[in-house]
């Protein structure tokens, strides 16, 4: 019921969420304790009894310690940057340890993924990124996170599921063909040196938020002249319309892949471009925000939100 629903987070691992069972080595240890006990009984050896019982007590106490190691941890999710399908989506996760004791060897993973191990100082916290592979465009929900630990003795396995709301936007994989269609450029181009895009550097101006990072003059930054944006001549006035119909009758996903590539190419060349999809039209613009808007439209084309 409740525990299958994702929560908006932050999620605290309360006592009821943490489960604990003996681990495989814990069972081997129990068998060994039994063998020790039989030896102690058979030789009627008091010290053998004492140490067998001491180790039994230690194993039982370690159960509480393993439980405590997980109990009370607080999880938050940060902003998940979009990725292209096929890449690993990185989910930033903050783990906070509100207790006054260190937490050692906490392991976190999505289902079927290799876990990440972390130690937390007392009253400390840490940001980390959990990766999840993506294969299809749209919103990807990686599912619950499993947090588990076997510290300190490895005899018990304590675990908890973290159903926290998080999703990653996955853009379509860009098509391999980097060329913008020639007719597009010819049809809409009016003047300047079409096709050379980035070459016609004109001047530098101070950076404004929203400028494409590709046009930041990094060398100037390196010379400590501050953030400068390169301005281009030629193609600046061009307006490209990246249209769904341009691709004839290619299948939907492939069209999206091509359009994605075009958006990236046009953006890289600093052109202003518009995107026309059957159900949506985005007016020509340039800049990072615009690119993200176009890519998101492509990612979510014909999908209901929340598709996994």
């Amino acid at each position: 019921m409740r525990r299958d629903q994702a929560e908006p987070g932050p999620v605290t691992l309360t006592r009821r969420r943490v489960y604990i069972l003996p681990s495989g080595s814990g069972i081997i240890f129990a068998l060994l304790l039994l063998a020790m006990l039989i030896g102690a009984i058979n030789y009627q050896n008091s010290l053998a009894f004492i140490f067998t019982f001491l180790l039994t007590g230690m194993a039982l106490v370690s159960m509480v310690h393993t439980f405590r190691n997980l109990n009370g941890l607080l999880f938050r999710v940060g902003h998940v940057p979009p990725v292209f399908a096929g890449e690993q989506a990185a989910f930033p996760l903050s783990v906070e340890n509100p207790g006054g004791q260190q937490r050692i060897a906490i392991k976190l993973s999505f289902r079927e993924q290799t876990p990440l191990t972390l130690d937390l100082e007392a009253n400390g916290g840490q940001w980390l990124q959990l990766h999840h592979p993506t294969s299809r465009r749209g919103w990807v929900n990686p599912g619950r996170i499993t947090a588990y630990t076997r510290f300190p003795l490895g005899l018990f396995h304590a675990w908890a599921y973290i159903h926290i709301e998080m999703r990653a936007l996955v853009y379509p994989t860009p098509a391999a063909d980097r060329k913008l269609p020639a007719k597009l450029l010819v049809a809409d181009g009016s003047s300047g040196d079409q096709g050379k895009g980035d070459d016609d550097f004109a001047s530098l101006r101070p950076y404004h938020p929203g400028d494409s990072l590709r046009h930041v003059h990094w060398k100037a930054l390196a010379r400590e002249q501050g953030l400068m944006t390169k301005q281009f001549g030629g193609g600046v006035s061009e307006q490209l319309w990246l249209r769904w119909e341009l691709l004839g009758n290619t299948p939907t996903e492939e069209r999206l892949a091509r359009l994605t590539r075009w958006v990236l190419e046009a953006d890289a060349r600093g052109m202003a471009y518009g995107l026309a999809l059957p159900d949506r039209e985005i007016a020509p613009q340039r800049g990072d925000a615009h690119r993200r808007l176009c890519l998101e439209a492509l990612a979510l084309f014909n999908l209901r939100e929340g598709r996994e």
């Binding site: 060994l32 030896g39 106490v61 060897a105 191990t117 510290f151």
Partner: protein, 661 residues
């Protein structure tokens, strides 16, 4: 995830911990095993260490199999078996070393470590002394720290203290559970199946006298047994602990003789109320049981049968390889007229061709017309009036040892006096026999019991006086104190309170006294250990439970109680661990949190995740009166917490500012 855990490999630091901890557990076993087997095991151990440190490659499978076979054969050839204590533990030791060269995954490492724990238990089969207990407790601490290190993927040598502290904490918290289990776990009367016993050291009182035998024991401070008296302690001159009785002699050696075996005490007349006491006998490798002259009851509380010979030697059916405890009564004043038909003949037996001077002197006394009692007095006077000395380093004696001692060297210890006296008596026609055992004991006031050490081993004589029966005569005690070399020896017939004698002797300084007191403290520790730890058997368990008001509990109910109590203890420990208030250790953070609490009382609550700077800005606006101080505290806090240089002065400043807010 479980699959992932199964494939994990141990860290280098974890493996080094494992090797170090395993070495401490292997060491005592390696020292005990035959050198060749030990050296081979150490070589294999070293191979693994070289693999970790120097990068040597580990042996491949065929070689590993060959090594396993060789080691197995080695153990079998050494011990002619692979079961039982010695062979079993040796096999476990070598196999543990072999396991090290095919240790790959974390689980391998952990299982190897568990075998280390198992070998700790094996160590107790060889010794249950306090020392061994403490050593193996240290080993368990190290093994546990190694287990923690193995389970810490980011482990590093820098965490050494943390692992040790954590391991100590776990063991400390396990302690109450251990105590409850130790007390309540049902004990059996006999082993599940019998195990072949190992060789037992043969130290202790010998059942024959041959010059020098007792002298080797005299030096030994080992404890022979301890005694708790039910009532008051008897006087020191009554503390004769009867052991083997020696009848037959060839003039030099004295030996036991065949005696009638009985299962009840031979009848004799008790002249005083019996004293009751409990003896805790150290393992000796012999079957003697000691009692004060003369036992009036058979020993009670032994887990096997005991019997008595017609000359009042108590014997247990089994050789004492373990500590034994029994309760017995003795009549200190008695009239013993038990003389069997053969006894008179045996009590007069004397070889005719040795010690002729002694025989001649005795016959001269008879010629004076003395009766048996006067002959005893005459012989004792001979020791007293001539220059006989008591010494622990007597000169060697010739082929006629008694002649040589009585007329020539006149230096010796109890066995010289006892045997020469008995020889004199027999030559004079008075039936006599040598009794060996222990004399005296030192009182331990801390435990209110008596310690009898091997150095108290003694020999005295018994003579038969017609109409009075067997009488104890101790010629050694008739040597005047000034002719006794050591004060302790002079005092042993006078008092059990050795401290006063030690303190009284002018040659004993403060150091000796302190040493004596320490030895007494240590002995009472040892006694408690023997009684409550090692000797905790079914009977002791019954006794303790009865004292706690639990009577006649079946083992099923005992187990149920045990499980209930453990559940309770684990719950209590859980509460202790989980509900412990998180303690902020950093004084800077503590001061800052106090600052936040103070502001919260004024109505400005710091939001979750609100940085100190943002919070300071907001708080200054909301609490304009304190804005100066808020900024100051925040500046100090940020500096102390995040700036690289920290000075004690600013912490003081921060604390003061927070206090003044």
């Amino acid at each position: 995830m479980r699959h992932y855990e199964a494939q994990l490999t141990p860290t280098l630091s974890g493996k080094l911990w494992l090797l170090a901890a395993l070495f401490t557990v292997l060491l005592p076993h390696l020292l005990r095993m035959p050198p060749l087997l030990s050296l081979a095991s150490i070589a294999v151990f070293g191979w693994r260490l070289a693999h970790e440190v120097k990068g040597w490659s580990l042996p491949r499978r065929p070689l590993r199999w060959l090594l396993t076979l060789i080691f197995f054969a080695g153990v079998f050839l050494t011990y002619k078996t692979v079961v039982g204590r010695d062979a079993g533990v040796a096999l476990l030791t070598v196999m543990l070393c072999l396991k090290l060269i095919e240790l790959h995954t974390l689980r391998d490492a952990m299982v190897t470590l568990y075998l280390g724990y198992f070998l700790v238990i094996g160590g107790f089969l060889f010794s249950q002394s306090v020392y061994n207990g403490l050593y193996l407790l240290l080993v368990v601490l190290l093994l546990t720290a190694a287990l923690i290190a193995l389970n810490h993927p980011n482990s590093a040598m820098a965490h050494t203290r943390y692992y040790l502290r954590y391991a100590g904490q776990l063991l400390l918290q396990a302690f109450p559970i251990m105590v409850v289990m130790f007390i309540l776990f049902p004990r059996l009367d006999s082993p599940l199946w019998s195990m072949p016993q190992g060789n037992v050291g043969k130290t202790g009182l010998s059942d024959q006298i041959r010059m020098g035998t007792i002298s080797s024991l005299v030096a030994s401070q080992e404890v022979a047994f301890r005694v708790e008296f039910k009532g008051a302690l008897p006087d020191a001159d009554q503390l004769y602990w009867r052991g083997p009785v020696l009848w037959t002699t060839d003039g030099r050696d004295w030996q036991r003789t065949r005696q009638t075996v009985m299962h009840t005490i031979p009848a004799y007349q008790q002249l005083s109320a019996p004293v009751e006491y409990t003896v805790t006998l150290e393992s000796s490798g012999y079957s003697w049981l000691f009692s004060l002259d003369l036992p009036s009851s058979m020993p009670q509380g032994l887990d096997h049968a005991s019997f008595i010979l017609s000359d009042f030697q108590l014997l247990s059916e089994k050789v004492a390889t373990d500590k034994q405890r029994y309760t017995i009564r003795s009549a200190l004043s008695y009239r013993n007229e038990v003389m069997f038909n053969n006894d008179r003949r045996m009590a007069l037996q004397l070889p005719s061709d040795v010690n002729r001077m002694t025989v001649a002197m005795a016959q001269a006394w008879i010629a004076e017309g003395l009766d048996a009692g006067q002959l005893v007095e005459r012989a004792l006077a001979y020791y007293r009036d001539n220059d006989f000395y008591y010494t622990r380093q007597p000169p060697l004696l010739t082929v006629d040892p008694v002649d040589d001692f009585l007329f020539n060297t006149r230096r010796g210890f109890c066995e010289h006096y006892a045997t020469s006296f008995v020889t004199l008596m027999r030559a004079a026609g008075v039936p006599a026999r040598v009794v060996t055992g222990y004399q005296g004991g030192e009182r331990n006031n801390l435990g209110n019991y008596l310690i009898v050490r091997q150095s108290s081993a003694h020999a005295w004589a018994e003579v038969w006086l017609d109409g009075e029966g067997w009488q104890r005569v101790d010629p050694t005690s008739h040597i005047p104190a000034e002719r006794v070399e050591e004060t302790v020896d002079a005092q042993r017939f006078a008092t059990t309170d050795l401290l006063s004698s030690v303190a009284g002797g002018s040659q004993f300084n403060l150091f000796a006294r302190t040493f004596f007191q320490l030895r007494q403290v240590w002995d009472s520790v040892n006694y408690g250990w023997n009684m409550w730890v090692l000797g905790f058997d079914r009977e002791q368990q019954d006794k303790l439970l009865r004292a706690l008001g639990i009577r006649d509990m079946s083992w099923q109910n005992l187990l149920l109680t045990l499980v209930g109590l453990i559940t309770f203890l684990v719950a209590a420990i859980s509460l202790f661990i989980l509900l412990r208030r998180p303690r902020q250790t950093d004084p800077v953070v503590r001061a800052y949190l106090l600052f936040c609490r103070k502001l919260a009382r004024k109505g400005t609550v710091r939001g979750q995740g609100e940085g100190p700077q943002d919070f300071a800005k907001r708080a200054s606006l909301e609490q304009p009166g304190d804005s100066e101080r808020i900024r100051e505290i925040t500046r100090l806090y940020v500096q102390l917490r995040y700036a690289p240089e920290v000075s004690g002065a600013s912490l003081k400043q921060l604390k003061r500012s927070v206090a003044n807010l």
